[in-house]
């Protein structure tokens, strides 16, 4: 056990830090600047660090990537604009894409030449993702026609491409009739509509597909194999969440700083309660953070990201709620934490609790796949998708 950098890691950290500190004045102010910033980082060798060289990456280690992430967080730099592409879409293309697809997409993705989104969830298919209804049907030319609706799609309004999970066969059980595609988001028939959240912002979109043509060459994996391809995406998501959910909600250090600034203005009684609340939220955050480090250590030894990673998400939403509530109670409504008003911070939490798997779904996953508890009897087992709609 050693929390310190290895000599190699220390060298790498110094390199990363030097570059970032030199450039951290240039915070991207708009979308083009954000693309340019990612491109510059890519050219410097700090994007796709752990991707294989043949995919346009650096062939480095996950720990090196984690060091880049840590240093960016340390300087308060925003996440890369193509984060979903890097964390979820790209890895799926790497594993399941044809040579042509890899050639066409991967390097451009890392350089933010193309932005990517992920088109899985549907209005009638949330936790039960495999119940999705968007249909892809063969056309006369051997290509496909896609019709349906996706939802909760981050970045769809600016994305160039998306990975799209569709139903190609409704006459088999639901997990077996799915096929994955790369879809051109600028193709005719694709309509994107922003979805306003309760905090008034629109981080997500609805995406409508109306008889959209998708060439067969843009299929990712075999026909009917879409569920397995989607599992690659979801596993990559876990990998990219290496921090174990600690990116959810306000940073505990930021809350501690603001409480420290304001606590003197509170009554003695309220100071006691504020410290208890801060202590509880802080311990939960530290627990999630160090558990994330343990996972990262495992991953960097080459272990596959397991269902344990869901635990960080689960506890992260709870400590985020507690810390935000504290901020609201202590800070007054004129305060900002990391630039957000408390109203915004609070209103974004319910969404975070659901995105990436509801608490209920995550608890099922951990209960069944980590603790080995038996699954519930499934009402939809062995039923074809079509029958399940009846």
């Amino acid at each position: 056990m050693d929390f310190d950098d290895t000599p190699d890691e220390a060298v790498w950290r110094a390199e990363v830090r030097a570059f970032l500190e030199q450039h951290s004045g240039e915070r991207p102010s708009d979308r083009d600047a954000a693309r340019a910033w990612q491109a510059a980082l890519y050219e410097a060798g700090f994007v796709g660090v752990a991707w294989p060289v043949e995919a346009g990456g650096l062939g480095g280690t996950l720990m090196q990537q984690a060091i880049v992430d840590q240093e960016m967080a340390r300087l308060g730099l925003p996440a890369l604009i193509n984060l979903i592409g890097i964390g979820m879409c790209g890895p799926t293309v790497i594993v399941h894409g044809s040579d042509g697809q890899k050639e066409r997409y991967l390097q451009r993705l890392l350089r933010a030449d193309d932005l990517w989104c992920q088109l899985f969830s549907e209005p009638e298919a949330g936790s039960d993702l495999a119940g999705l209804r968007t249909r892809a049907v063969r056309d006369d030319d051997g290509g496909w026609r896609v019709t349906g609706q996706k939802v909760w799609t981050t970045l769809a309004h600016i994305a160039d491409f998306g990975i799209l999970l569709t139903r190609t066969d409704p006459d088999v059980p639901k997990h077996r009739g799915l096929t994955m595609f790369v879809v051109d988001m600028k193709a005719p028939g694709v309509t994107v509509r922003p979805l306003k959240q309760m905090n008034g912002e629109a981080h997500f979109n609805e995406v409508f597909f109306d008889d959209v043509a998708v060439p067969d060459a843009e299929r990712l994996g075999e026909v009917g194999d879409g569920w397995r391809v989607a599992l690659t995406t979801l596993m990559s998501e876990r990998l990219s969440l290496g921090g174990g959910g600690t990116s959810i909600g306000p940073k505990p250090e930021a809350v501690a700083r603001h409480v420290a600034e304001r606590i003197g203005a509170l009554s003695a009684d309220r100071q006691v309660l504020a410290r208890q609340q801060l202590g509880r939220g802080y311990v939960a955050s530290l627990g999630a953070r160090y558990t994330g480090y343990r996972q990262l250590s495992k991953l960097s030894r080459g272990e596959l990201p397991g269902p344990e990673a869901s635990a960080g998400k689960l506890s992260g939403t709870r400590s985020a709620r507690d810390l935000t509530d504290l901020a609201v109670r202590v800070l007054g409504d004129d305060a900002r934490v990391d630039g957000d008003t408390w109203q915004t911070m609070q209103a974004v939490l319910p969404g975070m609790a659901i995105a990436g798997g509801s608490d209920q779904v995550l608890r099922n996953i951990i209960g069944e796949r980590v603790l080995g508890l038996p699954a519930e009897p499934r009402a939809d087992k062995g039923v074809t998708f079509k029958e399940s709609l009846a």
Binding site: F3, A256, G287, T291, S297, L314, G367, L371, L373, E376
Partner: protein, 325 residues
């Protein structure tokens, strides 16, 4: 960075588990409760095994090992409700640093040391003959009169101690005392981790086995999700214990926060685990013959040792605000 136990630690854990699971058990804790028999393995056996004195220097006959090593052993001790606690050994090794004679006595078992805090009953006062305390900033040592407390968890040997004549060992020992207390909190948390992890195993096993309405109760979300919440807490406690134990050896600046966080998490996690696992077991879980209540007793007592959870959360908050501003 590599935040994981090394092979050396895993081997140590295996050895400790072998010794402790033979020398102690919940059944022994129940016997202690019923008949006032001594705790197992007992002070002499623990010293003889070498596990208790891992952090005593080799020159004094100890193991010359790290707090992390002792924490790995303490987890195994917690699993089987072993007594006396390794906490006093850990604290004494820090407090007696440089005192070759007394360290040797600690290591060869001729001194039965317990550390006396200012408030609350003293852990493993029963069976101790030498008491360490902080008086006017000085570390003092001496014999004392022990009045046993009602044995809620008999393996904790709680008693009130009235010190007799004491000798001053170190003047101006405030910092040393604090470090010892933090190391003690870390080891206490490690014992709590072991107990909580064992409880979780019991709960999961029962939930797989017991059927209601035609299927295992662990297939019901109510039971499944309760156990998952305990799992998440236990894994986070494990991370905090390892961090604190590592910091004791390698990052003394992180120890105060890490030890307070581990202590607080251990208090709440062990209690939550015990109450959940009793609930999962239904009626059988609150019978005298079932092991669950022996762990529950441990939870109810440990919560108040070395400062309670409220004090630990308060300390975490103060340290966090200090670091942030």
């Amino acid at each position: 960075m590599n935040f994981d136990l090394d092979q050396e630690h895993l081997d140590l854990a295996g050895g400790a588990r072998e010794f402790l699971s033979a020398a102690a058990s919940p059944a022994a804790a129940r016997a202690a409760l019923e008949e006032g028999t001594g705790v197992r393995p007992g002070r002499a056996e623990l010293v003889k095994s070498g596990f208790a004195t891992i952090t005593v220097p080799e020159s004094a006959g100890g193991g010359g090992g790290s707090v992390l090593q002792l924490a790995v052993v303490a987890e195994q001790a917690g699993r089987v409700l072993a007594g006396p606690s390794l906490v006093n050994f850990a604290r004494a090794a820090v407090l007696l640093d440089g005192d070759a004679d007394r360290l040797a006595g600690l290591a060869d078992g001729s001194l039965g040391v317990a550390v006396v805090d200012d408030s609350g009953p003293v852990l493993d006062a029963i069976g101790a003959d030498t008491f360490l305390a902080l008086r006017d900033g000085a570390l003092v040592c001496g014999p004392g009169a022990v009045t046993a407390r009602e044995p809620i968890d008999p393996t904790r040997g709680l008693g009130d101690v009235a010190l007799d004549e004491t000798t001053v060992l170190v003047r101006d020992a405030g910092e040393r005392w604090q470090r010892a207390e933090r190391v003690g909190r870390t080891i206490l948390a490690a014992e709590g981790l072991g107990a909580a992890a064992r409880l979780l195993e019991m709960g999961v096993a029962y939930a797989k086995d017991r059927h209601a309405f035609g299927r295992p109760i662990g297939s019901y979300q109510a039971i499944k999700h309760m156990l998952v919440d305990v799992y998440v807490e236990v894994e986070q406690l494990r991370s905090l214990v390892w961090w604190a134990a590592w910091a004791a050896g390698h990052a003394p600046g992180e120890l105060p926060l890490a030890a307070a966080a581990a202590k607080a998490a251990a208090a709440t996690t062990l209690e939550h685990a015990a109450e959940t696992v009793i609930q999962v077991h239904g009626g059988i879980g609150f019978t005298w013959e079932h092991d669950a209540h022996l762990y529950w007793r441990r939870a109810k007592v440990d919560r108040f040792l070395l400062g309670d959870d409220v004090a630990a959360f308060d300390e975490v908050a103060r340290l966090a605000m200090e670091a942030a501003s």
